[in-house]
């Protein structure tokens, strides 16, 4: 099978090809923000030419896009109308009534300043369903008709329909859909019982309104793209990455674009999983460091973990959809270092961005960035930056660090540069620690996959700080997200609220909901052309102790749903609760809140191709010898003789001793003093950290 993955980022569009032999090829083109499909199609054509195939030979076209994400972050979605239960016009305006900052009277409440639905377009109609799904007030269809006409006359481009308890009884929302289709054909419609059929009205309404907010633009983009790819001769449909780390079809994405919101960062984590698997290390932590931010993911046994309900946000809004746990912090190559007015050494979150960029770019930036620190330490060499495609001026980096940091701290440029690196690295270490050791996972069981242009500059040190035994630096750290696209399965996840207790479980209802959701999920994937035998069903549960407020996701036990099954489910919950919160309460009843079914359409995966084998001696790949600054055990700067290697010339079996610098076009890898690295059979650099060995001299 010939597959191509396209990951559209803010600056570059990455394209990756992976065939049945395991061969990969990559390409990078500048993104075209005004119509991202242009760069997508150009990049695909160019890469196809490069590997010598026609687009008609492609079996699958996989796509990661930030189109939906950018609409939300830039607040430029469609005009949305809302039809909701009478008496509850302002649920979206009140939200959870907690302000983001404690100590601020001048903050903006994002959901009020950038409203998804303006109040004039929030229209109420008589109807009411109670918590058991019983209709208390029948839907007033005439009122619905009238309000839909108001919205039509107001020119909304999408309508969200959000009624209380519709997760329990969706009939009223479905009736409204029929009326909208009559009164305002063609408008984008989003029902809360479709988008997020779970209790908690604000989160459900917000998710539905977000879906409507991004819907018209995203579907326009996807229609364009699939039209263009079809014209270009691509056989398969375009599949898209979701925030949960699965692929969905264009059809699915058009109906539920809210599922795409955090797909970009998830693809990087999935890429890391595939990279780890290829190097024989299924449990990975991924560190993707770009210019302004770092994304951190933890995948025990190569499995994604889902975010807690309170954390599933996009920008300033809440979205109650499954999102893989990936944390983003404001630390990257462009992060600016400064001494604040209280004398404290700070790095980031402010970034120099691409313009003016780091001081060493000589584009007018004068403040020192993390890139400048690495230039000053000799890790990034002026003559080989981006293979010489871009000139950098190390004296400007040194000047910026001297003036803004070293002089103020009364220290040397080298020491200040070390500080910039260590402060940023510490922020990344804390974030990884929060998602690993503090969630009950031992970092010693993981390998760290270095991604993004700057990830391989940080990974060696962070792994050592956390006791992670090794770092994997893939061939193309900068395009791990595109790789993730190619290593993913088709997935559809559907939840339902069951609200039952392990003390008195409604097993019939659990079984019935699982059956209903399973049928729905199989039908869904079937419509995308997957045969039932290619579909794997995973069942999970959202549980909490009776009386708690927030659920934890637990894998559902196998077997028939009876009281024994419930007991096993409860046991599984106790275990997860203990790992998460350090405590278990065996005698307390467990509240089974939601059931979830995930249908997975397995895509055949092929292993990465192996590279040429060489001996342990890597001297053929040596490019230069240089001097670079690292530090001693008591944190004093020290200059080390450092070997510089050319990545392209490294062979499987080569062994490298740190300190070393490995250069390739869009990335630089550091092997720290005292560390060892080997090149494995697929060409990944495996850095063994010094923490695992005796006799560490650093």
């Amino acid at each position: 099978m010939k597959r191509i993955g396209v990951d559209v980022g803010g600056t570059f569009t990455d394209v990756m090809y992976w065939d049945e032999e395991g061969a990969i090829a990559v390409h990078k083109v500048p993104s075209t923000p005004h119509d991202p499909s242009l760069a997508t199609v150009d990049g695909v054509r160019q890469l196809a030419d490069q590997v010598g195939i026609t687009l008609g030979e492609l079996d699958q076209f996989l796509h990661g896009t930030t189109v939906a994400t950018n609409i939300v972050l830039e607040h430029n979605g469609s005009d949305v109308g809302l039809i909701t239960t009478e008496g509850f016009r302002d649920i979206l305006h009140i939200a959870r009534k907690k302000r983001p900052f404690n100590y601020s009277s001048y903050q903006d409440l994002p959901w009020q300043k950038w409203q998804l639905v303006r109040r004039r377009n929030r229209r109420v109609v008589p109807e009411r369903v109670d918590a058991a799904g019983t209709v208390l007030v029948p839907l007033d269809e005439d009122a619905v008709r009238e309000q839909v006409r108001v919205l039509r006359d107001n020119g909304v481009q999408a309508i969200a329909v959000c009624f209380l308890h519709s997760y329990r009884n969706p009939a009223h929302e479905q009736a409204v859909r029929r009326i909208i289709e009559q009164e305002y054909p063609g408008v984008f419609i989003s029902l809360s019982s479709d988008v997020a059929p779970q209790y908690r009205e604000y989160e459900r309404f917000s998710t539905t309104a977000l879906n409507a907010f991004v819907g018209p633009k995203v579907s326009g983009y996807l229609h364009n793209l699939s039209g263009t790819t079809r014209e270009a001769g691509v056989r398969g449909d375009v599949a898209l990455m979701t925030s949960a780390g699965g692929l969905i079809t264009t059809r699915g994405a058009i109906a539920n674009p809210v599922l795409l919101l955090t797909s970009g960062v998830v693809a990087g984590l999935l890429g890391g999983c595939a990279i780890g698997k290829a190097s024989g290390q299924p449990s990975v932590i991924t560190l993707d460091v770009g210019g302004t931010s770092a994304d951190i993911g933890v995948a025990p046994d190569g499995k994604l973990r889902m975010k807690h309900l309170l954390d599933t946000r996009i920008g300033d809004y809440h979205a109650m959809v499954p999102m893989a746990e990936v944390d983003t912090i404001g630390a990257g190559g462009g992060s600016i270092a400064f001494i604040d007015e209280g004398g404290m050494f700070r790095v980031g979150p402010r970034s120099a961005g691409a313009n003016p960029g780091p001081a060493c770019y000589a584009r007018g930036g004068t403040e020192p960035t993390s890139t400048d620190a690495m230039v000053a330490m000799g890790w990034l060499r002026a003559d080989s930056f981006l293979s010489g495609a871009m000139s950098i001026q190390s004296e400007l980096a040194v000047k910026a660090i001297d003036e803004h940091l070293a002089a103020k701290l009364g220290t040397t440029v080298e020491h200040a540069a070390i500080g910039v690196f260590q402060i940023l690295a510490h922020a990344m270490t804390e974030a990884i620690s929060l998602h690993s050791v503090r969630k009950g996972y031992d970092p010693r069981d993981f390998y760290l996959v270095a991604e993004g242009g700057a990830g391989p500059l940080f990974a060696w040190h962070i792994a050592e700080q956390l006791g992670i035994p090794g770092v994997i630096v893939p061939h193309h750290p900068g395009i791990a997200s595109a790789m993730g696209l190619l290593a993913t399965d088709i997935r559809a996840e559907i939840p339902a609220t069951v609200w039952t207790s392990s003390a008195d479980p409604d097993t019939d209802r659990i079984a019935a909901e699982f059956d209903r959701l399973t049928a729905q999920a199989v039908e869904y994937l079937g419509a995308d052309g997957l045969a039932p035998e290619d579909i794997v069903i995973e069942r999970s549960l959202d549980c909490r102790y009776i009386g708690q407020g927030y659920e934890l996701r637990v894998p559902a036990p196998d077997g028939e749903i009876d009281t024994d099954w419930v007991a096993r489910a409860a046991e599984a919950f106790h275990t997860v609760h203990e790992r998460t919160y350090l405590q278990r309460f065996d005698d307390k009843p467990v509240h089974l809140v939601n059931v979830r079914v995930t249908a997975i359409g397995k895509v055949g995966h092929v292993p990465l191709a192996e590279i040429d084998t060489g001996g342990t001696d890597a001297s053929e790949a040596v490019k230069a010898s240089t001097e670079a600054v690292f530090w001693t055990r008591d944190n004093q700067s020290q200059v080390f003789a450092t070997t510089v290697y050319d990545r392209a010339l490294l062979k499987a079996g080569n062994e490298l001793a740190g300190p070393a610098i490995i250069e390739q076009f869009d990335s630089t890898t550091i092997i720290g003093p005292g560390q060892h690295a080997t090149i494995d059979k697929v060409g990944h650099i495996i850095i063994e950290t010094a923490t695992t060995r005796e006799g560490d001299q650093r």
């Binding site: 009534k97 050494f345 402060i423 804390e430 929060l434 609200w499 009386g547 919160y581």
Partner: protein, 600 residues
């Protein structure tokens, strides 16, 4: 209560002598500062995500942090401002009885409002931290539990003294050197109406403090006691310095807030309670003088000075001077933030009652201190102060006997408020104000758990307070009881409404109404005790709307039009208050008529 120093006291503590002050390099300093911040954050997360009481888990009515042996705060979670800063007082409360007796494995429970507790339902759990065999500090946390076994379920107002408001727990070891005192814990739970919930909350509080103990010990193992505590000291000095720099920008002087009044004390309905706030600024210090405020009252409507007044003053100073939305640097919350913020209240008054007066219900009063400080400094901090906010706390406890006829259900809800307008921005609508910052409980959860149904939850119909920038709008809720229900409330409906600033209009008062729009409609007081609502009755809750800022005739005419289109302001009010004429047929601004009316 011993008399306070009229020059003001603060929450800041004195440095202990159990460590040697050493130089810490700037990088290690940053690393330890980051680690302390993460510990506090992680402690709070574990607490609210595993807690039972809706006040802890939904409202995040909790605090958590690490403290030295004198109770100086090294770090504290960013949860609700009211809790930030109360834990040092809890620690001084337990130290007075237990200092010198701590052993590894101790877990101490405390809630005594005259010995540091913020108020008695805020259980505090303190775990002494040992390193190298020495007691070096505390991991501590507080959380608001649903019921503490007083006269009335959940909340109380009309009670005679501190014993009637609930069971007092003064520095009790529920674990003694690692041994759980099961009999004591059972005794505590046997004497509350919500034993299951409180049991879960106690476990969550203990888990939270243990996590803090574990993390802080790991930090000590890595860097050593001297380095960690020296770094913590540096961060305290840093926060203090950042704050003092801003205070010094205010001209020294004595700034009086307009005198204002709280509705009543929950019993003597015709006696409004005076709140007099003077802010004295002297060379980087702020002293909030509450002299001339009302004397203490014979109900639960008094305020613990140490556990509630002082944290309020510290939070208000911080908000006014280092507003997080206007300050780039993250200034960590620690003992340094307390040092420049002082308060004074004479003994026997509302803000410094004499033992054993009850002081369960204190939030509306302390929020009024915050609001008044803000108004007092409006002239000298024109870009930081805001018009009067709802500045009350509308907490309502719903309770009743469960279907078994023996156990209780108790549901406490903290209703939101709204903000006054800002200089340059409208006020925030429907949000917790000032010292409060809690989440609401989902309606769907309420209806799944309790015999109540929501009939309305939206913005109030009354227009916002006019101004060049309009006041924030409060909400209206209407709940119907499906079973016989008791209601207790601590609120202030702002019969003395939030003040407008700089020509903006005053805000709008709130109200509680039973069976609104029926022939049984009845206005209730803002503070009620065990008020009965029969099955089928409704309760309408309106929350105050904040004041306006600046002359409404200066308001941007398009903003007025937007408010008309969104049903906030009528066409008639647009003309009357704002001088903006809107054509009802086209719904556009009639510019010539507006210019004429506005005299331009």
């Amino acid at each position: 209560m011993t008399a306070l120093d009229p020059a003001g006291v603060s929450l800041a503590g004195t440095a202990p002598e159990n460590f040697a002050s050493v130089e810490v390099d700037p990088i290690t300093l940053r690393v330890i500062g980051g680690a302390l911040n993460s510990i506090a954050k992680e402690m709070a997360q574990i607490l609210y995500r595993m807690a039972y009481s809706s006040l802890i888990r939904e409202s995040e009515d909790l605090g958590a942090g690490i403290f030295d042996v004198h109770g100086r705060e090294l770090c504290e979670s960013d949860s609700t401002p009211m809790h930030c800063g109360s834990i040092p007082a809890y620690i001084r409360g337990i130290n007075r009885k237990l200092a010198g007796t701590y052993q590894p494995g101790d877990v101490i429970l405390h809630n005594h409002p005259y010995h540091g507790a913020a108020h008695s339902p805020d259980y505090g759990i303190m775990i002494p931290i040992f390193f190298g065999g020495e007691h070096v500090g505390f991991a501590g946390c507080t959380g608001h539990v649903s019921d503490i076994g007083g006269n009335f379920p959940g909340l109380c107002m009309d009670v005679v003294d501190v014993w009637a408001e609930g069971k007092l727990l003064d520095s009790v070891k529920i674990y003694d050197a690692g041994v759980r005192n099961g009999a004591l814990i059972q005794h505590i739970l046997d004497n509350v109406r919500t034993p299951e919930q409180n049991a879960g909350d106690l476990e969550a509080l203990i888990a939270c403090a243990r996590l803090g103990e574990r993390r802080f010990t790991a930090l000590l193992e890595r860097y050593g006691l001297d380095v960690v505590l020296s770094a913590a000291d540096k961060w305290m000095d840093y926060s203090e310095e950042m704050l003092r720099r801003r205070i010094r920008e205010i001209p020294d002087g004595s700034y009086e807030a307009p005198v204002s009044f709280l509705d009543d004390d929950g019993k003597n309905r015709d006696v409004p309670l005076k709140v007099a706030v003077t802010v004295k600024v002297t060379d980087g210090d702020i002293v909030v003088d509450l002299t001339d405020s009302h004397e203490q009252v014979p109900t639960a409507f008094n305020v613990p000075f140490e556990g509630s007044v002082l944290p309020t003053v510290a939070s208000a100073v911080r908000t006014l001077l280092l507003d997080e939305a206007l300050t780039e640097e993250f200034v960590p919350q620690n003992d340094g933030c307390f040092r420049p913020a002082k308060a004074y209240a004479p003994e026997g008054t509302l803000f410094n009652p004499d033992f054993p007066a009850s002081c369960f219900a204190r939030f509306s009063q302390i929020n009024r201190i915050f609001d008044s400080m803000n108004l007092a400094l409006a002239d000298v901090l024109p870009d930081r102060a805001v018009a009067g906010s709802s500045a009350a706390l509308c907490a309502i406890a719903y309770s009743g006997l469960a279907a078994d006829g023996q156990s209780y259900w108790v549901y406490i809800e903290i209703n939101e408020g709204s903000y006054g307008a800002r200089n340059g921005k409208d006020g925030m609508d429907c949000v917790d104000a000032l010292m409060a910052n809690t989440r609401n409980n989902p309606i769907e959860e309420l209806e799944l758990n309790h015999s109540m149904i929501a009939e309305r939850y939206e913005l109030r119909d009354e227009p916002p307070a006019p101004g060049q920038y309009r006041g924030g709008i409060g909400s209206v809720r209407q709940w119907r009881m499906l079973t016989d229900t008791f209601i207790g409330s601590e609120a202030d409906n702002r019969s003395d409404p939030p003040r407008g600033l700089a020509g903006g209009h005053d805000g709008v008062a709130g109200s509680f109404t039973r069976n609104v729009a029926t022939d049984r409609e009845e206005l209730l007081h803002s503070k009620v005790t065990q008020e009965k609502c029969a099955a089928g009755d409704t309760l309408e809750i309106k929350l105050p709307s904040g004041g306006g800022y600046g002359d409404p005739r200066e308001r941007d005419q398009d903003a007025v039009l937007e408010d008309v289109l969104d049903d906030y302001v009528s066409i008639a009010d647009a003309r009357r208050h704002y001088g903006v004429v809107i054509d009802p047929s086209t719904l556009t601004v009639d510019e010539p008529a507006t210019a004429k009316l506005r005299g331009r």
